[in-house]
Symmetry: C2
Subunit: 409 residues, 2 copies
């Protein structure tokens, strides 16, 4: 496999709260081309340090990718640093200058004198068009290295890499087919899942299996490489079959669809509608359902009943039921889901009632309810962790419970 | 200011989905000690490459911090690489070996032979105790550099840095006080804000001003360094006063509080309560309000009315009003906020109705309503961008409108 280094340029990326996300996108794209990222660096807007970092990288790898620092100001040092590291002068390009000027005309803005800085190419470099921004990228082959200068804003970098850099890299690299699959799993922690499937995937170096975990949501990523597409797919089939056998219906999607997209698809297929009655999640379940474009075709709406009084006045839960069982109980979860379905006329309804914490009687105790045609069910869960974690797990588990109810009907 | 480089070691950190968060913690801690981070790198479990990276760093900075790669396996290459980069051999320490063995005894686990690898110190290094894990850290002064070897797990790294490294660094560094302030701003884009305040902050190198932007939420960070606390605070006062004059009531917090925390505080101070009626945001406003622990003291609940029919059946919006103005209109936004306040009995209510996109008649068009005691107001907004951006901006602007209504009452 070919090697690459990524250098992100920008002092703001060296502050305690900024993360370089461009390199994650680039790593994903490079891996798909069969290129391994062997080092990532972040360097501030410092010409000398950046020049040194580029020289270090050119000694170690054949592909060096720089992101950021292509703006028009003195702080934007990437062009200068590559020029210094390769000993190639910067050459003014009237052609690029005209493109930049045209862009300013189109937006009815005056072009400042400093923007001409963006019209300098490193000698021997090819300009990479940037329809989304002012600064063109640059591709330079020098000293046996391919050096790529890409803009920092993700909205400019991503299309430029896809349209300009990936095809050029593909031409230069040995032909290698990469095929990937995603298995998304709900209702299982990362370590339990890993313990279950590690006996399978550790026996294979191709495909490579990666496990990515968010709260309550684990993604198993399989990546196979081969000279032929058929063989890559066969390698994936083999491992996927074994992992699927172990995980069963805990797998909610295989193509990369989110849990709320899967639920939307199941509701649409059944011509069914959905409503919610949320307490401790405060709208999180509905927010996720309506993240999906077109969700108005199946999501009607619902009730946020954050206090006991609201459970009674908006949903009609009898005060005696709450007094007898407390608001965080199976009877109340069942009544909330039933009332939401009845009041909105929806086919399905989801309810959540619990203690998100950190204070209160039983932080992390949550009851979920799902009303389906002719059936209402509830589940008791005890989550651990902080408020955000409890709310995220409650919403995720509620959506997974709904998915299972939809599959069963 | 002293300079430092951070090198995170681990091939898993070079995959498309892993972010090195240890360096964010370390950057924060180092900045507080008056040390600037000038480069961050991530290197895989590759002895030769890591040795090269350490040599590069030792040429450029006086403080080199390595995280990870201190485990017992062949993959754990940090000790070997520092040994190679400095030309100092690894020396077995019976004392450290005894500490590790004791730890295994305490947990009733057998100590494997490979764990002895963790008992090797680089010649001249000081061991840093690790009460949370097996691998001790190491502090090495060599070739004019301080080289710190820290464990990768954050739960081990953080206390080790705080208890062992920070005191040693403080002793070696000139006394320097760092003081910071945050100004959080809603209702203004990053570039507009920067254009407004750059004439002030660019005149100062101390404090350093950094602008961090999320969708609809901009944070201005001021960091002053001085030998005395009084002077650092005076430097901050001077710049903060000027920036505050320009931003006015667009600043919603100064201590780091989130917009929903500020709103919670204002509601509590007034003994007031809140409800919502959300359409296109689908619960996002309520979800943010209830992110705050203790929000049940002022948030009652509300209505998710994602379809026109739900606006009528749950909130009682007359069908004629919707027919005449459409559901995305000022009269409907006003009626939704008024109905939510009336039906829940809340003091304040927020409503959102709009087209989140990407399809539909006018993607990004949103009407917001706020019902206050004796007054209901609405605002029309046209946002651009994708569905997530429109929903985030709608919720953020709704919360800011509520904040202003609370301040005015």
């Amino acid at each position: 496999m070919a090697d690459a280094e990524i250098i992100a340029v920008g002092s703001e990326l060296l502050t305690p709260s900024k993360v370089d996300t461009n390199s994650l996108f680039l790593t994903h794209e490079l891996n798909a081309l069969g290129v391994e990222v062997v080092r990532k660096s972040i360097v501030g807007d410092d010409r000398a340090r950046l020049t040194g970092a580029i020289r270090d990288a050119m000694r170690n790898t054949r592909i060096v990718i720089l992101t950021g620092g292509l703006g028009p100001t003195e702080d934007d040092v990437t062009r200068d640093a590559v020029s210094a590291a390769t000993g190639r002068p910067l050459v003014f390009s009237q052609e690029i200058c005209d493109v930049i000027a045209e862009r300013f005309r189109r937006f009815n803005r005056p072009m400042a004198e400093i923007n001409k800085r963006q019209a300098y190419l490193i000698e021997g470099a090819e300009a990479l068009p940037n329809p989304r921004g002012t600064a063109p990228g640059q591709w330079l082959d020098s000293d046996g290295c391919s050096i790529l200068l890409l803009p920092g804003p993700p909205g400019e970098l991503k299309p430029m890499f896809a349209n300009e850099c990936a095809p050029r890299l593909r031409q230069r690299l040995p032909k290698l087919v990469i095929r990937t699959r995603w298995l998304r799993v709900a209702g299982m922690g990362e370590s339990d899942l890993d313990a279950l499937i590690a006996p399978v995937y550790t026996r294979y170096t191709n495909p490579v299996t990666t496990i990515l975990a968010a709260i309550g949501d684990v993604h198993v990523h399989l990546r196979a490489r081969s000279e032929s597409e058929t063989e890559a797919e066969a390698l994936l089939d083999d491992v996927e079959r074994q992992i699927s056998g172990l995980l069963g219906d805990r797998i909610y999607s295989r193509g990369g669809a989110s849990l709320e997209q899967v639920i939307g698809g199941l509701l649409l297929k059944r011509g069914a509608t959905l409503s919610v009655a949320e307490s401790c999640t405060g709208g999180l379940v509905a927010m996720r359902v309506t993240n999906v474009p077109g969700s108005s075709r199946y999501f009607l709406g619902g009730f946020l009943t954050y206090t006991d009084a609201m459970k009674t006045s908006l949903l009609g839960i009898p005060t005696e039921l709450i007094a007898q069982h407390t608001a965080v109980s199976e009877p109340v979860a069942l009544a909330m889901a039933g009332a939401a379905a009845k009041l909105t006329g929806s086919t399905y309804a989801v309810s959540v009632t619990g203690y998100a914490g950190p204070d209160g009687e039983a932080p992390g105790l949550v009851y979920l309810g799902v009303a389906s045609p002719g059936k209402t069910e509830a589940r008791r869960l005890q989550f651990s962790g902080d408020r955000e974690r409890v709310r995220t797990l409650a919403a995720q588990t509620a959506l997974d419970l709904l998915r299972r109810a939809l599959l069963a009907s």
